[in-house]
Amino acid sequence: MDNRSNTQRRFRRMIPLRSAAAVAVLALVASACGSSDSAAPAPSPAPAPAPAGPDDAELLRQQIEDHFQGETIEFLVGFNPGGAYDTHARVLAEFLPSVIPGSPAIVVQNVPGGVSLNAARQLALSRPDGFTMGVYSSNLDFQSAVGVSLPGLDPRLLIQLGTALNWWSSVPMWCARTDVATSFEELVGLGREVRFAQPSLFPAAAFMDLIDVPFTNVLGYPGVPDVVQAVNSKEADGSGWCTWETFDNLAPEWVVSESVLPVFYAHDLDLLDGEVNAEWHARTGVPVPPMLKDLVRLTDEQLKILELVSLEQFTSTQNIAVSPGTPDFVVGALRDAIRQVAESEEYQAAMRERNRVPGYRSPEEIDANVAAILGYPDEVKAVVRAMFEK
């Protein structure tokens, strides 16, 4: 009797263990089925034959509509919710269904990590059917172009669709607390290391290590608001990432009280589209500060490196792409849709409401920018590559 009741007790104890094992197995199966990070891409569908002439435009439209009808497009975002990338994607996701034939639903999914590397890789591995698109940092393209090895990804294989957010003309200024200095000469003449708080080691900041200036990058602040706080609390003398958005949205008191003002531009403005900055200077009355290349004697090689660093700013976009092998007619449809949305007044108004500058850059322009980077001398690219591999 004792043995049987012991057995019964052991059996009853086993029930939850077996239930747990069953649940765990089911969860493993469910997550494996749902997980996209281990799925091998399916063979791409056979591309449809290109239309023969103008009369086939309607046929193409019907084909696109049939392809997207009732489908859902997953829009991967390489950063957390609420940031510029996420806002870009979510606002686009509201407008795109109305301009894509077939009106597919678009669901935004955040895949943060590796400065959008995780999202770009997941995009590259997705099925080439146009039902997965993603937005990632063009900095990955730049890094790849100068020869930085990105684990598990060659972003140049992704098919570009364009971008609907203007990042390239928001050129960061190097600003300093006016109680420290009001000009580049005063900064250099302080007789000590000048501390600039940076949200990351962007190329222009790394460039300062190559020239003879007493500037120290203080790295590690999680975001621009933290950089602003560091300057306000006098933990740093200034920052190399003072964009017009920083002044307008995060530190409006800087201009009003003249407590922090721009001192110089590190980037070569002659190579950049500084339209937005020019408008800000005109609006606020803050004088346009001089450029670094006019303040410091640079060697020819340093000038070339600065040119490439400035090109990194010029090519700074939030690239929207699909996976390699996506059929041409699908790619064409998505490119047209993004261009239409980018050019619509409603979209532009929605972005401005969220303090984002709308804009459009075509996939051809994005590809041309990458080609321009590739055309730089290897020794120049090697120096810039080292900036990313620190």
Binding site: R12, R13, I15, P16, L17, S19, A20, V23, A24, A27, L28, S31, A32, S35, D37, N80, P81, G82, G83, D86, T87, R90, E94, V107, G113, G114, V115, L117, N118, P151, G152, R195, A197, S200, L201, T216, N217, V218, L219, G220, Y221, P222, G223, P225, D226, V228, Q229, A230, N232, S233, E235, A236, N249, A251, P252, E253, E353, R354, N355, K390
Partner: protein
């Protein structure tokens, strides 16, 4: 200006769309907080709809999702001994032993009352501090945040185990696990073993749930008795019902100064961005243990071990809105998500809010107050029913709990590798329980490592070693050493009182449970 904005906010509050949105969010937050690891899930779902929602609907709903989590996350901590969120680890220390003595209802109700009062302190802090946010936050820089983080590591090593050395080693191990992926300064990769998955680091949810939940559930199953039957076997009667709610209220009133100072500490540190809720949880627990007259029962079922962190948590959550709204600097992951949420909805947090959207700020404050009070009140009404979960047989409780935990472990990233992490750390947790190693310091080390590393590098870059001469740093270090000395004396006294042992042991398939090793 302020009075006008406040009256506008009151007018906005008493509209059907705001009240209904707040109610929907609060119910969602109540449920989300009660399920371990899913506190933010509701907010993530809401983000998907945020663009289409009116700000007056979206923001109250989001507040409703966020605030109650700090109240109901005590449920898994007390009932199962599993942290419901990063801010309820300390509650496990005394909440779970109380549940095993059949006093889960009293423990939960005490946590809720403390949450209500602590939340009020937080709301008051939010109301008074927001206009002066910049000036207040300027008092603390990277050095101060660094030493607060180190203080958190040090205190947890002292409070969580009879063997402080093991506690500190476990904390160091947790810090090592946190370093997998990339560094927070320039993003260089380390310990990722060449895999893409580990580039993003080990997820906190599968790590925490695996380390805590799986061993505790295995212990429960192995024991073959309900959670509350442990106490029953020792002759303690299971207590529940409305009388426990009033008993808890009397307890909280008797310890009103503990509630007040814990909430004050939580609010003060919550205003400082970047510190994290886990530090405040343990700081207030450690401060409580070191300042009460009879701390012998801390870690074995002392109700004050629940009251202190619970009141601090809710105060912290409200206070963390100060830097988030006024400076666009989030105080932690929850605030970072809320910050992004506001941007999607079309509201730009930051200094311009104080001039352009002051009435919205006051509306948010009012929503926080209502959500906190409503959540606490609802939780109090249900505390006895929830406490009855401790009377369920393991065969009944285990399958749904295991399913929830498994889904929670993978819901953050939908990656099957998170499940492997969950299982792997579950095995590690079981080994640690079996061999008497504390797990709590490991989690604290994991949570604090990125904070400490970031602020260490910022401090060294910006100040060099001169940071040690900063007055605020000196004050914090003195407070820290003082607390540590008091805690060591308390620990030594408890050991000598117990005749050299650190607590009773119990039979378990995995050996002595962690409760028996707690001081």
């Amino acid at each position: 200006m302020y009075m006008q904005a406040f009256s506008e906010a009151l007018g906005l509050l008493f509209t059907w769309q705001v009240l209904i949105s707040l109610a929907i969010g609060t119910v969602g937050g109540l449920v989300g907080g009660a399920l371990p690891g899913t506190g933010l899930a509701g907010l993530f779902v809401l983000i998907g709809f945020a663009y289409t929602l009116d700000p007056l609907v979206a923001i109250p709903m989001a507040i409703g999702f966020i605030v109650p989590v700090a109240t109901t996350d005590a449920i898994p901590a007390v009932i199962l001994g599993v942290p419901g969120s990063a801010s309820t680890q300390a509650v496990i220390m005394d909440g779970y032993p109380l549940a095993r003595r059949g006093e889960a209802a009293w423990a939960l109700a005490s946590a809720y009352w403390s949450s209500i009062f602590g939340g009020m302190v937080g709301v008051l802090t939010l109301l008074l501090a927001i206009p002066f946010a910049r000036s207040i936050i300027n008092l603390m820089g990277s050095p101060e945040l660094l030493v607060i983080g180190l203080l958190g590591i040090g205190i947890v090593g002292l409070v969580s185990s009879g063997d402080s050395l093991r506690g500190l080693i476990a904390g160091a191990l947790g810090m090592l696990v946190a370093m997998v992926g990339s560094d927070p300064i320039i993003g260089s990769t380390r310990l990722e073993l060449g895999t893409i998955y580990l580039l993003g680091g080990i997820g906190i949810i599968p790590f925490t749930l695996g380390l805590f939940a799986l061993p505790e559930l295995a212990t429960l199953v192995g024991r073959g008795r309900s959670i509350a039957e442990t106490g029953a076997a020792a002759g303690v009667e299971f207590r529940s019902g409305r009388s426990e709610v009033f008993r808890a209220l009397r307890t909280v009133i008797e310890n009103r100064w503990l509630v007040a100072r814990s909430a004050a500490v939580g609010a003060l540190i919550g205003v400082m961005p970047g510190v994290g809720l886990s530090v405040i949880d343990w700081l207030t627990y450690g401060l409580a243990k070191s300042t009460v007259k009879d701390p012998e029962m801390f870690g074995k079922g002392d109700i004050r071990g629940i009251i202190a962190p619970s009141s601090a948590d809710n105060a912290t959550l409200s206070a963390a809105l100060v830097p988030t709204l006024a400076l666009a600097i989030p105080g932690g992951l929850t605030m970072a998500i809320f910050l992004g949420f506001m941007t999607i909805v079309g509201i730009q947090p930051g200094p311009t809010m104080l001039t352009d959207n002051l009435s919205l700020i006051y509306l948010i404050i009012l929503c926080v107050f209502i959500a906190n009070t409503f959540a606490g009140g609802t939780a109090l009404l249900l505390s006895s029913q929830i406490a009855n979960l401790t009377r369920l047989r393991p065969a009944t409780l285990f399958p749904p709990v295991m399913a929830i935990l498994t889904l929670a472990a993978i819901q953050a990233s939908s990656s099957s590798y998170d499940l492997l992490v969950f299982l792997a750390f579950g095995i590690l947790g079981g080994v640690m329980v079996k061999t008497g190693w504390p797990r709590v310091p490991m989690i604290i080390g994991f949570v604090l490592a990125p904070i400490i590393e970031r602020y260490y590098w910022l401090t060294v870059q910006a100040y060099g070693w001169s940071f040690m001469r900063r007055p605020a740093v000196i004050i914090i270090v003195i407070i820290g050493f003082g607390t540590a000395i008091l805690l060591m004396r308390v620990t030594a006294k408890a050991k000598s009182f117990a005749g050299g042992s650190t607590g009773a042991t119990e039979d378990s398939p995995l050996g002595p449970s962690e409760n028996s090793n707690r001081e």
